[in-house]
Symmetry: C2
Subunit: 232 residues, 2 copies
Amino acid sequence: MKLACETCPVRDSAACSVLNEEERDALAAAGRTRILERGEMLFAAGDDHAACATLVSGALKVSAVDKDGNEQILSLVHPSGFVGELFAPFAHHDVTALTQSKLCTFARVDIDRAIEVYPALARALLRRAQEDLLAARGLLELTGHADAEARLAALIHDFAAAASTSPCHLASHFDLPLTRGEIGNMLGLTIETVSRKMGELEDAGAIARKGKRGIELIDPALLQTLSGRQAY
Amino acid sequence: MKLACETCPVRDSAACSVLNEEERDALAAAGRTRILERGEMLFAAGDDHAACATLVSGALKVSAVDKDGNEQILSLVHPSGFVGELFAPFAHHDVTALTQSKLCTFARVDIDRAIEVYPALARALLRRAQEDLLAARGLLELTGHADAEARLAALIHDFAAAASTSPCHLASHFDLPLTRGEIGNMLGLTIETVSRKMGELEDAGAIARKGKRGIELIDPALLQTLSGRQAY
DNA sequence: CGCATACTTGACGTCATTCAAACCGTGTGG
DNA sequence: CCACACGGTTTGAATGACGTCAAGTATGCG
């Protein structure tokens, strides 16, 4: 399948946006678009020729599975995000679609060559890697000391921010991109605890549940307080 | 203070090792060496003109402090490691010396310019960022589902690996680089739990405590088993 | 309609935290 | 030299938050 950068929804925000049109088309010639349905994996831990990809639309999770078969979600990837380990000999984690997702995939050698030819691309990927690092550390902070309620409140707050179109405003209605089990795997909690605390957040008047996945933000300030993070 | 790259112990492993001698000297002209004593901070969260640095010797911690004043250690930095956020407008975390440490510091604008002039440097920093990301995610895996004993066993195992000279062998005698409190802050445990589990690991015959900081590895395989990680 | 999947709710057990006190090595001053 | 204070550590007992086990309730799909 050929790439259609001209109509790409993330052409101004993805890593490739730092390239000029000519450079971008050259890179695009090496890439392929790919659609993943929910649950389909881009690659699994241990794959030795894993591709790299920019997410065009949808959402991905990066996760590890421990020896008892418990999944641990390490990161969520939103459109314009980049996944793939450029230097490791094999993939360390699984990457799976959370919803139907459109990706722009590249063989690693092609990305490797591209960052040598286009220094700006290396810089853009460096920036993204540092942002991913910050996100991972944010999750560490969250799961480190906070109790279950604060973890859940913070996660819902983040989802509300991610679901919003404007960067400094929260969406008041949105769907959780994760199942209860996935939320639990991400926050180090069980499915039951997530469900219970969700109920408590609703009783407290911070949110309202609309069906299984839907959330309505009733009191964003309260949610922020319960999350234990500073209000601005 | 002038840099003496010729005698630098990490000149072959740090990010700057990808530069040729001439390039390296040019970069060195912009840098300054700095010594930090234990407890001294390189920069604090919120600093808006934080430097970047390569660690030459010693050890650093990267940590965040939540609103109740609890510290959370997010990462440890070993010699040849690089710290500093190149793109964020201000530092998100504290960076503090764990032992007397020697650093090679650079103003951010100088690093910024260097990665434009020397693409190989951008590539090297990208590689390091991805490794840091992997380390952060490893810590997430550890603190996500494992119980206190497994977390501690895994951390001690990692320290034994880091203290060893050869990469695939464990040191049998070494000192913990962290206090009990710092270990707790890193693993999301209290000081008392760390102390108790340390005693249990000793009773189980996995390790022996030699004074406050010293550890002797009695049964590395047992330690590995208790950590819940696969044996190779 | 019936089964599957996800979610909710309750009762109970367990592990880590909390609070409290004692311990140890080190440095300081009388 | 000893008394003392101090930081880091160890240990004990009681509490509580989350996990486990087990039903029970939607929601959706063949």
